[in-house]
């Protein structure tokens, strides 16, 4: 499968084959991360701007390290220390970055569609590192990579996404990626945060957590996103934990080989018990390791040009 896209903006517009190409490429990059010398020259001479207009630790560090391992030059840009504070528009900010010959813009923004806007006005490749409640494509790709690596496949698996679906860009990207790859996705959480309209995306919606996780092969937990909720969507954190939190008693009723995922940051004692987060069925830290490989793969594929695909020896 050839990758011909210039931007990585969302999962919705990708085909199953394109998603699989990223996952296959990421497998080779994960092996690079296990070498003594973890750096390769694939992006030597290229400039990447990490434009994080919304706070991020995990994703920003993961992208930075991925870029460094590919030998790219990096500019880190956060709102606090930039002219966006002085009233400059996003468009002017990025046109200035383009004038400095940036090849890639990695953007995290609180407004849905910000990366798509940049892709229209810029010559550089744009990677969406999370836009509002819309999409977080590299998170979905690393989730799919982690599931495929641990379970050997994705098609036919039962994946339950539990928590704040309404405000979650991770949920949207995960739903697109996993359903395209043939998984059966179930969404669960308080009815205010998991409206039935999500059934239109091809998944099942339930508000009964025990039923939702009973047959699950993968349980993907999401954090309650207080920062995106205009008003509280459920009575209290304590009640959420009691009704939807993953604890030992609930876990005991799942399949013995069901695995637990969480995109982070985790709120211990809220959506997940501390013991489970640290337990042998938790993939939380593997997800972080795989995120690096997936982001290297994405940058590598987007760096490709228009000519015929390179073949060794000929």
């Amino acid at each position: 499968m050839k990758w011909t896209r210039k931007h990585l903006l969302d999962i919705e517009s990708l085909t199953a084959e394109e998603i699989t190409t990223v996952l296959d490429t990421a497998r080779a990059f994960k092996a690079v991360g296990q070498r003594a010398i973890k750096k390769v020259p694939a992006l030597r001479g290229k400039t990447v701007v990490n434009l994080f207009v919304e706070p991020s630790t995990r994703t920003r560090i993961s992208f930075e390290l991925a870029e460094q391992r590919l030998s790219a030059d990096i500019i880190n840009f956060s709102t606090e220390a930039s002219s966006l504070k002085k009233g400059e528009t996003l468009k002017d900010t990025v046109l200035n970055l383009q004038a400095l010959k940036a090849d890639f813009i990695v953007i995290r923004h609180s407004a849905s569609g910000a990366p798509h806007f940049l892709a229209r006005v810029l010559k550089a490749s744009v990677i969406n590192a999370g836009d509002g409640a819309h999409e977080h494509p590299t998170q979905a790709l690393l989730d799919a990579f982690t599931i495929r690596e641990r379970k050997g496949k994705i098609a036919g698996l039962n994946v339950t996404i539990l928590g704040d679906i309404l405000y979650s860009r991770v949920a949207r990207s995960d739903i697109w990626a996993l359903t395209k790859l043939g998984a059966k996705v179930t969404l669960c959480g308080p009815s205010t945060l998991v409206p039935k309209t999500f059934e239109q995306m091809g998944c099942r919606v339930t508000h009964d957590v025990d039923e939702a996780i009973r047959d699950a092969d993968i349980i993907n937990l999401l954090r309650i996103q207080h920062e995106r909720q205009r008003k509280t969507m459920f009575p209290s954190i304590g009640e959420y934990t009691q009704l939807f939190g993953l604890n030992k008693a609930r876990l005991a009723k799942t399949k013995p080989d069901a695995l637990i995922m969480h995109p982070g940051p985790i709120n211990r004692g809220v959506e997940i018990d501390s013991e489970i987060a640290d337990g042998s069925r938790s993939l939380v830290l593997e997800q972080v390791t795989n995120g690096l490989a997936v982001r290297m793969a994405a940058l590598f594929l987007l760096n490709g040009g228009k000519g015929p695909q390179g073949v060794a020896g000929n």
């Binding site: 990758w3 296959d24 080779a28 690079v32 070498r35 694939a42 760096n303 015929p308 390179g310 060794a312």
Partner: protein, 178 residues
């Protein structure tokens, strides 16, 4: 329709590999320090076959690794991103004589990338190059130490090496004229 000629049949490929193995032995005597590193796709299978022949001559196993050169190519932003194959070198190359094994030697750019890539794994004492087919058209000052067959080609022609390891019924090296 492209015109296809058989450059090497199964017997010729086997004979070429046997000859290359004997040349490697002649050059490296006891072979205690010799390791083989194949470049996919094709060179990895040829390296495994050479290792088997060499083990028979030297009476000791010869380590074999796989080295993907994709990430060290110099044309990555000009072509559609190539497939990245896993690299697997399960031994230390430092101080060893590394025989790089490739199926076809053409521009020499893959060999250059391979030498760069190998540096990330250690410092070999020597690097030698074995290829099944040398088709000419070098763009870099690189030559092979061991060659199965020299074949002058036109630039627009292609060489396709089919090996049974890849699921085809019999080994064959084909020359495709556009």
């Amino acid at each position: 329709m492209p015109e296809t000629t058989v450059l090497l049949d199964a017997i010729a490929i086997q004979r070429a590999l046997t000859r290359i193995a004997h040349e490697i032995v002649e050059r490296n005597e006891a072979g205690d320090d010799v390791v083989l590193v194949g470049i996919p796709v094709g060179g990895d299978h040829l390296a495994a076959r050479l290792a088997k022949i060499l083990a028979g001559i030297w009476n000791h196993p010869v380590p074999v690794g796989i080295l993907d050169t994709t990430l060290h190519r110099d044309d990555l932003d000009q072509r559609v991103a190539p497939t990245v194959h896993p690299t697997d070198i399960p031994f230390d190359v430092t101080g060893k004589t590394v025989v790089l094994v490739d199926d076809v030697l053409f521009s020499g750019r893959t060999t250059r990338a391979a030498m760069d890539a190998l540096n990330d794994f250690g410092r070999p004492r020597k690097i030698q190059l074995a290829v099944l087919i040398d088709r000419g058209h070098r763009e870099l000052p690189i030559r092979a130490d061991f060659v199965g067959k020299n074949t002058p080609t036109a630039l627009e022609e292609k060489i396709s090496l089919q090996l049974t390891e890849a699921g085809v019924p019999q080994d064959e090296a084909l020359l495709l004229k556009p």
